[in-house]
Structure formats: structure tokens, C-alpha cells
């Protein structure tokens, strides 16, 4: 489902949020799908339930998830829209990073080799 990179400087709750959004954007999670309980998610990801709770809280605040019947969380209708929006934000962020790198003196070959390396890791 979601991969948590414990080595990343990105906070875990942030990674969870990004992961959920990513899955919605890719179409792996559709509006109306039930999200696993906080306990189950925490166990599955080996993370502190509080962290998961925070991620869920913020996603709910952002409108990506909504809680129905009090307990469970579901992917909201707006989620896709939000996801698309965040993917757009990611794309923009990536472009900025590229610009920075080019400005800093990184050649196109170097940039491509980085992409290849990351792709390889993804497999």
C-alpha cells in the first residue's frame, strides 16, 4: 500500500498523507472506498498510531477523507480533485528542483542518471 521511508527527512505523517494522495491520484483508491482503521494502518506500517491519527486528521481536514457513521474513514468525492491538485503541486515542485539543479551546475546527463537510479530503486 503505502511505503514509509524511515530514512527520509520527511515526517512520517507527511509521508502517509502523500502516500494516500498518490494512491488516489493513480486511481488505486476510489471515492467511497473504506480506509483501514487507524489501528490496522499503524500495525501494517509499523508506525505509532498517533502518527497515523494525525495524518488521518489532516487528510480529513483537507477534505481528502471523510468520516461517515462516526467511525470509519472513506475516500471522499473531492479526494480525486484534491489528489489531482496535489499531484499538480508535486509536478511544480519537481520542476523547481530541476531548475535549481541546473542553476547549480548539474548537467542533463547527471539529471537523467539520477532519474534512472530512482526508477531502478522503485522496482
Amino acid at each position: 500500500m503505502i511505503e514509509i521511508d524511515f530514512a527520509s527527512p520527511v515526517a512520517i505523517y507527511d509521508q502517509i498523507k502523500t502516500g494516500v494522495r498518490g494512491m488516489i491520484a493513480k486511481g488505486l483508491l476510489r471515492p467511497g472506498d473504506k480506509v483501514p482503521s487507524i489501528r490496522a494502518l499503524a500495525v501494517r506500517l509499523s508506525v505509532n498510531p498517533n502518527t497515523v491519527a494525525r495524518a488521518v486528521r489532516e487528510l480529513t481536514a483537507e477534505g481528502v477523507l471523510e468520516s461517515q457513521r462516526g467511525e470509519s474513514n472513506y475516500v471522499s468525492e473531492k479526494a480525486l480533485l484534491r489528489a489531482k491538485e496535489s499531484v499538480e503541486a508535486l509536478r511544480k515542485e519537481f520542476a523547481e528542483a530541476l531548475k535549481l539543479a541546473r542553476r547549480g551546475g548539474l548537467g542533463w546527463q547527471d539529471i537523467e542518471s539520477v532519474i534512472i537510479k530512482e526508477k531502478g530503486r522503485d522496482k
Partner: protein
Amino acid sequence: MNSNATVCFEGISRSFGGHKVLAGASGKIAAGRVVGLLGRNGEGKTTLLKILLDMLACDGGRAVINGLSPDGSGEIRQHVGYIPERPLFHGFMTAQGVLETRAGFFRNWDMTRAKALASKLELPLGTRVRGMSKGSLAKLTWICAAAHNPKVFFLDEPTSGLDALVRDDILKNLITELTGEGKTILVTNHRMEEMAGVLDAVWVLSGGAIAFASPMEELMRDARHIKLRLKDGAQLPEISGLTELNREGGFVELAALSGAAEDKLRATGAAETMETAGLSLNKVFSVLLKQFGGNRHV
């Protein structure tokens, strides 16, 4: 002593025959928090836990666990789930017998819960302790620690020596404990990286006291893995907060636990090229140990 904290200790000292193991150790854990205690072998992690659990007398200092102080009566242990470093049970008893015996000692023992945990962990209750494998013993130990619904857990190397599946079981159960009311947990683990996602904060016990304490989020955010190439003839500057990981001629690998250290290094201009990335978990904990952990080899 902060009354909001569930676990609070101040100035704990203990010597063994002239050898000072703990000297003024102080710490606070707020309710519902998980703290990982790092320390090299022999730095006194187990000693500290035993003192807090009223199993060992201290030379000085105070402690309050869930409103109780260690007073020699053992009352504290009614309210704490404890996994000892080397769990032992009476060899002649079966797992069922162990649970029944414990039920008699712990006021808040919940036998239904104990049995449910046993079946979840797939621990057959009829086996005799004498014949149990390490994994089964660990499961039994966990049940004994959790079945009386304590609000505080002290776990001393709960996953040491266990195979990956049992380890996972224990970890899962630990996380489950945290949901809902949220229990306060102090855990030691030589392989802290397996619990990194669960920790709220990490402490390093060294030189008899808590030499380093930091929330996990900050630590992960600020920790850096730096690879650099020194300029010809340049020396690596001495900057506190930097730990050397590897050196191969002019190529140096460093770890920094704060952004300030990295900036300082950059400012010295000793590096020709420098690359920074996030510091991986296993490296984080071993860097912490290297930097704060002390020289004792026991």
C-alpha cells in the same frame, strides 16, 4: 517533579561496589508517549529500569511512576507492564499455570484478555515452560506484561533474539496497545530501527545520565548524511555535532545531527564537493551511540 508526566525521575544514582553506574539520571515521559532508550551495553539501561520498577534500591534520587514512588513494597509493579531482559518462569508450570499464578498476584488481571492474546499469538497454553522455545517464551512474557491492563510499559529488549515472525507479532501487539487510550512506553532495543516508526522520542543513556533526548520527528528532520571530498591538503575541521562514518583518502562520509553543524562545515570551505541526504535509520541510532554513547565496553 512534573505531575503531568506519567513517568518522571530525577537524580537517580546507583553504584555497584564503587563503580558508579548511574549518576543523576533524570527524565520525563508524558502520558501516552513512547520513548526509546539507547545505550551501549553496560551503561545502565537495565539498572535504570529496575530502579524505576522498585526492584533495585538507588543511592539517591526520586521517581514517580503513574503517581507511585518506588518504596520497596513492589506496588509499582502492579501498574506497570514489564518485560525483563531475561524473562524467566517456573520451569514446572504450563503456560496456563503461569497465567493463573499471575492472576493471583495482579489485582487487575484480565484472564479473558490473556487467553485472547494467547490465541492471537498462537501460543498453546498446555506446553510446559521448560520445553518452550524462545519465541513462545517471548509471547508468554508479552501476555504477562499486557494482561493486567497497565497504563505504563517498561520493555527491556522485548524482541532480542527472536525470529522475524515473532518479532513482528510482538511489535504489532505493542502498536495495538497504543491505540485507544494510549499507553506510556519506555523501551530499550539494540535494534531500535525496527521500532523507529513507533517512537515519539529517543533518549541516550550514557555516563550514568540521559546524555541526549530528542523527539523523533526533529531528529529525523535534522539528521543528515554528508558525503564530501576534501580539498587537497585540507584537514577535516573539528565541528561538534559531526560524526565521521567513513574515510577513504580524501573522501569522507559524515553524519550530522543538526543543520547547524552542516552549515558550519560548509562555511569552513574545507570541502571541494559536498552531497547531503537524509540519514538512514540504522545509521541514526548508531551515530547517536557513537556521539553520546560513551566508551564502556561490557
